[in-house]
Assembly symmetry: C2
Homo-oligomer: 131 residues x 2
């Protein structure tokens, strides 16, 4: 398979696939013409990567997960730990965003949003205690 077909089937842009090879996540063979010659295994790895990335795992997490996937002697605890840590980070991110959202929503609500210049949003932003 050439990169175009693999990209289509794995749901990843060719650029991303080349990048994943660059950083050593996959190692596709080469045809005589220099084209990458993807095997089924490469395709599955790419799909795996796409899925893991969609769940927000970092590239380094993906590298580890892929290695565990390839390793028949893995312990599921290793996988679970990575996933739990990631889950925790997601929770933190959500909490942070909710806090932003909360503040911002109040400010937006307080701003009449018309042609006049006075604006509670700008007032809030400029009201830092700086002394």
């Amino acid at each position: 398979m050439n990169i175009g077909e693999v990209a289509e089937r794995a749901g990843l842009p060719p650029k991303t696939i080349r990048y994943y090879e660059d950083i050593g996540l996959i190692r596709p063979l080469r045809s005589d013409n220099g084209y990458r010659a993807f095997q089924k295994n490469d395709l599955h790895k790419l799909a795996f990567l796409g899925r893991a990335r969609a769940l927000g795992f970092s590239i380094e997490d993906c590298r580890t997960l892929l290695a565990l996937y390839d390793d028949g002697t893995r312990e599921s605890a290793q996988v679970k730990q990575i996933a739990e840590e990631h889950l925790h980070q997601i929770d933190e991110k959500i909490a942070q965003l909710k806090s932003m959202r909360n503040t911002l929503a109040h400010l937006v609500e307080a701003c009449h949003g018309d042609h006049r210049p006075d604006c509670p949003i700008l007032e809030d932003l400029s009201n830092a205690n700086v002394d």
Copy 2:
């Protein structure tokens, strides 16, 4: 004021302040020795920036907000629009993270996480439909 004091008072690292000058968010004067000589106005702008960044506004949004802040003839509607768009983006981000969190939480729960190799998390990641 030198950069150290301003950094302290605005709650931003000196590196960040230099960076903000680099990209034209502030334009502090210079002393004869070449040191940046910050005025009160600079300090207020930096605090404004710190606050806006903490609410997740992009640097470009910050640039616009700062310009509106400086512009007595602004209309609050302009500010409100930026804030509303940002709020909307935050909402989208939260929704996306919640969806990830949801999937991931189910997987983590399903994984017994012991010394055995079988793992629902890896199974899910590798179960992409690729044909």
